[in-house]
Amino acid sequence: MQTTVDPAEVAKFEAMAAEWWDPTGKFKPLHMMNPVRLDYITAQIAAEFARVLSDDQPFGGLRLLDIGCGGGLLSEPMARLGADVIGADAAEGNIKTASVHADQMGLEIDYRCTMAEALVAEGEQFDVVLAMEIVEHVADPQAFLSACQQLVKPGGLFLCSTINRNPKSFAVAIVGAEHIMRWLPKGTHEWSKFITPDELQTMIGMAGLENVDRKGFVFNPLTWSWSISDRDLSVNYVTAAVKPRG
């Protein structure tokens, strides 16, 4: 953090960081889902770049962009695994919050208040681009995915997760998570902006990336835990794509 920052501001962002990172607080659903998201992300990166997860700092030398990084729930683990991480978020508050927390943890992460299109204009490129739980919030998904494609180095990896559009996802993600469980603030999601896996993979293909994998993230209310599924993509799902070389 720069020294010119107002101490009252810092205190505010420290409080926000505490909220973002409280496993039982407002962002509980993200914390609960994080282990399976990380299992998927780490396995895909390890496979694509021939890394061994039991090694110390297995992602050393990889440049990684986390678009829509929020409080840094994915950026921090990626930095711990040795990646050179840039966390981008359009909300200034998130960037300050994430920076304060990374500082507390002793992690070096380059957090920037910016958007995918701006990073393209700056000519930035990455080995790995993460766009987790973000595509359902952007105004023009196809334009966003095209920007992502330009941010991936040839031979690099693009991971994108979102929520399916069907009656079940409406019941679970909006009625369940926002209205009944109050896990998410009402109005967090707009159901009509949800995208089906086929639609997403078509758009990713049109952006010039090659789809290589897709899986579901499934919540089991009996065991109160998330798992990765090969077949059940009915609510939360994730896709992996690579950018062809040359």
Binding site: P23, D39, M105
Partner: protein, 408 residues
């Protein structure tokens, strides 16, 4: 912010070093703080203490590279015979027998002397490049910060790490300093522990006699030697412990009869007052409790060390998986996975041990008949008996990978 270690372990008994080795093997930097000076553990002479290691525990020791240092000194448990008895009468008419030949995994477990196991663990710790041992120093203060833990030692030295694990026994200071309460009660009984030399070979058979005052276990050690764990009321135990060796043996002899021939004492005599003490939480922010620090149990089934090693296997697996995901492994939501994994198992064990002790430690003729019939019933149904054998061998439940003999 450079930390001294990833994980600080308080306690250098058995679980502490075992956990340090398991975590060191998966890449964590670990420091173990042991209150005892190095020379005080794993003494040359046999002191009479031994452990009945379940097969699953032996597999864990193998997986962390300790078994090769202790296996040659271990006695395989080939058969466990459980019977109801009264002093001077010998075993009751219905004997429950568990023979390892009924399961595929080999012996049900091993008897290992404390001196060999302690020494093997500490030697492995000293040889491990990722593990540091600080001996003869105690923790006097612990400070849990948002991203790290600081321990202050009696010597004035401070240590920092991502988290602390208390393997410091049933009076765990780590637990107390964290403000975690404990629940428990006194059983009104004391265990007398000693080793005996005997004339006749034991054939690798362990015996458990359920006597009215409490159980008597005879556990085979290598050669013509056995470890005895013998439970009496506090007053009776104090009386027996105060006797000279000859008087002590005179009390012991009629309790298990003459099937091992002449007996004499080998090593020291110990007493352990029995109480149940379970921590109200096994975890807090950047802190976990393992073994007796989490759950000190009645040793009726010899499950204390075995339960501790299950904790070791579960915690090492949870922390390693979290580290490989890049998670902040000291966070309470990561540690919650360890607590959830172990809590149910521990509760079940406490309940079963309590029930077994209540059922067997009394002279009520009605219960005596009921348990004689019960033992006979279990014995006559092979499927049921195999279930008990697998339970005794520690092969049931959701086993951590190290206890299946696999690497994490």
């Amino acid at each position: 912010m450079k930390l001294d270690s990833d994980i600080l372990i308080v306690g250098g008994g058995l679980n502490g070093p075992a956990l340090a080795l398991a975590l060191g093997d998966t890449g964590f930097n670990v420091t173990v703080v042991d209150a005892l000076p190095r020379g005080a553990r794993g003494e040359e002479a046999f002191d009479g203490r031994g452990y009945a290691l379940a097969l699953a525990s032996q597999r864990l020791l193998k997986a962390i590279g300790v078994w090769s240092r202790v296996g040659a000194d271990a006695q395989p448990l080939l058969d466990i015979r459980i019977s109801d008895g009264r002093a001077g009468e010998g075993p009751g008419p219905f004997v429950l027998e568990f023979d390892h030949a009924e399961i595929d995994e080999g012996p049900m477990g091993y008897m290992v002397e404390d001196r060999f196991l302690s020494r093997a663990l500490l030697e492995a710790v000293e040889a491990h490049p990722k593990v540091t041992l600080i001996d003869g120093d105690t923790v006097v203060a612990q400070d849990i910060g948002p991203a790290s833990v600081t321990l202050v030692l009696g010597s004035g030295r401070t240590l920092t790490g991502r988290m602390v694990v208390g393997c410091d026994g049933r009076r765990s200071g780590t637990c107390e300093r964290a403000g975690i309460g404990r629940t428990g009660h006194d059983y009104g009984q004391t265990s007398l522990v000693c080793a005996i030399d005997h004339e006749l070979p034991h054939g690798g058979v362990a015996h458990q006699f359920f006597m009215p005052p409490g159980p008597l276990a005879i556990l085979p050690l290598p050669g013509n030697q056995s470890s005895i764990v013998w439970t009496e009321s506090h007053t009776e135990a104090a009386h027996i412990h105060a006797l000279d060796d000859e008087g002590y043996l005179a009390e012991l002899r009629p309790r298990f009869g003459s099937f091992l021939g002449e007996i004499s004492l080998a090593g020291k005599r110990f007493t352990y007052p029995l109480n149940l003490t379970v921590a109200n939480e096994f975890i807090a922010d950047r802190l976990a409790l393992v073994g007796d620090a989490a759950h000190g149990m009645h040793p009726i089934a010899g499950q204390g060390l075995n339960a501790g090693l299950k904790d070791v296997g579960a915690l090492a697996e949870v922390l390693t998986e979290a580290k490989r995901r890049g998670e902040d492994y000291g966070r309470i939501d990561v540690l919650e996975r360890y607590q959830q994994w172990r809590r149910f198992d521990v509760a079940q064990m406490v309940a079963a041990t309590e029930a077994a002790n209540r059922l067997f430690s009394n002279d009520n003729p009605l219960l005596r008949t009921a348990r004689d019939i019960g033992l006979g019933l279990v014995n006559s149904v092979p499927g049921l008996r195999r279930g008990f054998i697998r339970e005794a061998a520690g092969l049931t439940g959701d086993l951590p990978r190290l206890l299946q003999g696999r690497q994490i």
